[in-house]
């Protein structure tokens, strides 16, 4: 065995151990709160279950049964034991789940083609609530506390030239609430970029309405400062023959929890949901998505890819896809891939697929979390490429599959550079 160790060390495998460190599926300290109550059923035996649907004692064994409400009071205070929160370190939410969110919300600056309408409206605007309803306490807390909302409208049949850039700049560490509504009216076409920067503690609701025949791409970039805490519910409602592409990129922030959902309300619509995350030491990056096939003949495709490096880098991906009884002819696939670059990082990945009808075109899910592959490394090094360069080449390649989906050159370049910076950090 010692020979193997030295040989492995020579080609630069991160570790000679045959198993991935810290990657037992077993219940460890999933969140500090859970750890403190490790005798409870959810932190102990229950979390060891391969969780399809809710855990023990959680009411929504089907995603369809989850509580939704505009009222904060309808949601019980969080304990960290809920299926929905079991991976999230609540102590690091900085009050987003418990406090009144009256801090200054991130400033909103929208630039883009003149054909796109941008308004700032009060809580009573009719469009608020047209596409979303909170599905958890943190989202409901934001709904209860936001004072004004930004509404971005792509008028019917308008093909917006160039992207609509929405820069949300954090205003400090006071717990705050944000609300944005994006409406792509019938047969319109647009790309909207939500660009989160600076320092913020914010719970955000993004409502996305994609009307009949519209084509909308929404890209949510989380390049926060290291101390930011961000919970973002991004709910999309799709009309007939709508095409929706959603891309989440989480790189910065102490804790980022994005919960995107797509609901099909009429046949013929298509959704693509992509995600890229790169967690460094101590970062918690969580993504929980939901695709609700409630009607017939819709298509969805989900791919999230993550890289992790450093001690206590933690990523969570939970993908719920529900094919309801009515949703005949559904075609869906979801996949999550994680690449663990160093010891001490942890990636949780839970694909959940619920199928209530057999009359579908296709349904699949996949999840793989692996170390940097030694055979890839060997192949590249056998061509003279030094280990560091080979590693970069592979990680860049791994994540590039998502970046190239963005198709906004300036942002692709920016993210490629950001990934390079993350990789440079590994080498120190």
């Amino acid at each position: 065995m010692t020979d193997i160790t030295t040989e492995k060390a020579r080609i630069g495998a991160p570790s000679a151990q045959p198993f991935i460190n810290g990657f037992t599926e077993e219940g460890e300290s999933l969140s500090p709160l859970n750890a403190a109550e490790s005798k409870s059923p959810l932190a102990g035996e229950a979390v060891k279950r391969h969780s399809h649907g809710g855990g023990v004692g959680v009411p929504d064994s089907s995603r369809a049964g989850r509580l939704t409400s505009y009222k904060l009071a309808d949601f019980k205070p969080l304990t960290g034991m809920e299926e929905d929160w079991r991976f999230t370190p609540l102590k690091r939410l900085r009050g987003l789940h418990a406090d009144v969110l009256n801090g200054a919300a991130p400033s909103v600056a929208v630039t883009g083609p003149d054909s796109v309408r941008v308004e700032t409206v009060g809580r009573d605007d009719a469009r608020i609530g047209s596409a979303a309803i909170p599905e958890d306490r943190v989202s409901a807390n934001a709904w209860e506390n936001f004072t004004e909302a930004t509404v971005i409208t792509v008028p019917a049949e308008v093909q917006a030239e160039g992207e609509v850039s929405v820069v949300l700049t954090g205003q400090g560490t006071g717990a705050s609430a944000q609300h944005v509504v994006i409406v792509a009216e019938k047969f319109s076409k647009a790309v909207v970029v939500l660009d989160h920067q600076g320092t913020a503690v914010v719970s955000e609701n993004i409502e996305i309405l994609v009307e009949d025949g519209a084509q909308l791409t929404v890209i949510s970039l989380q390049e926060w400062n290291d101390d930011a805490v961000h919970a973002s519910s991004q709910q999309a409602k799709l009309g007939r023959d709508a095409k929706f592409k959603h891309i989440v990129v989480s790189l910065g922030g102490d804790l980022v929890r994005v919960t995107p959902s797509t609901r099909f309300t009429a046949p013929g619509a298509e959704a693509e949901m992509f995600g890229l995350y790169f967690a460094d030491a101590g970062q918690h990056l969580e993504q929980r998505l939901f695709v609700d096939h409630a009607v017939a003949n819709c298509k969805s495709n989900v791919l999230y890819k993550g890289a992790l490096q450093g001690r206590n880098a933690h990523t969570v991906w939970v993908g719920d896809v529900l094919i309801r009884k009515e949703a005949e002819g559904t075609d869906t696939y979801e996949a999550n891939r994680n690449l663990v670059l160093t010891d001490g990082a942890r990636a949780d990945s839970v694909p959940n697929l619920e199928i209530e009808t057999g009359l579908i075109a296709g349904a699949g899910h996949a999840s793989a979390t692996g170390r940097f592959d030694d055979e890839h490394l060997f192949y590249l090094m056998a061509r003279g490429i030094p280990e560091k360069v080979a590693r970069r080449l592979v990680v860049r390649g791994f994540l590039n599959e998502i970046i190239q989906q963005i198709k906004v050159p300036a942002i692709e370049e920016r993210l490629t550079a950001a990934v390079e910076r993350e990789l440079a950090a590994t080498e120190n």
Binding site: L380, A382, R383, G384, P386, L393, N400
Partner: protein, 265 residues
Amino acid sequence: MSTLEIKDLHVSIDTEQGTKEILKGVSLTIKTGQTHAIMGPNGSGKSTLASTIAGHPRYNVTSGTITLDGEDVLAMSVDERARAGLFLAMQYPVEVPGVSMTNFLRTAKTAIDGEAPKLRTWTKDVKAAMAQLRIDADFTQRNVNEGFSGGEKKRVEILQLELFKPKFAILDETDSGLDVDALKVVSEGVNRAHAEGNMGTLLITHYTRILRYIKPEFVHVFVDGKVVEEGGPELADRLEEEGYDRYLPGAGAATIAAADAAAQA
């Protein structure tokens, strides 16, 4: 003029059943301009020899040496070996998702030469080499080996051989799984690289048919981790007619011992 020298090489692997010795004392010397064929039945250790020279971590060298012009190859990391001039055309080239061929070829060439190739001539060289190997131009946009057929993967290995210009090329069953046309194309590639005069070739194969296109001066027969017989091209002809049966257990150890002795002498 370079020399790759393998002396009394013993190699083992770790299996669930414990350590297993695969190479049991292999000695071989290859010089620039020479072509050596290593032939043998399945499981005789041919591919182990190839992978060990390249430095695959699975194989543990327990004794013996490999030197390249006197330099200790075993002390080098995998990438150092490649930069020193060793090239392994792999039997099963792996797919590297997300890394385009263009990027890969340029990165490897830069690493091997110690400087980036001149962009204009490089692109031209790649195009020309691809055309000769009948590889579609759009392969450069595709990811390394991803979705390539068995034959395409082998052509791309030889493409690298031609572009990287190693001192020694080790071809690990490059012929297996190729149809006759592909075999010809691949062999021509190897012969072109060889004709430049700065390369020695170690051709590892199970079958004799590739020897119709690539002519070795030396043939070594491998059985059970050892060279049991050595000779010139005529040995390959004999293998074509007789197969490996006479080397296998029960075929008369005396014959082999005699052949062995003859080869040593």
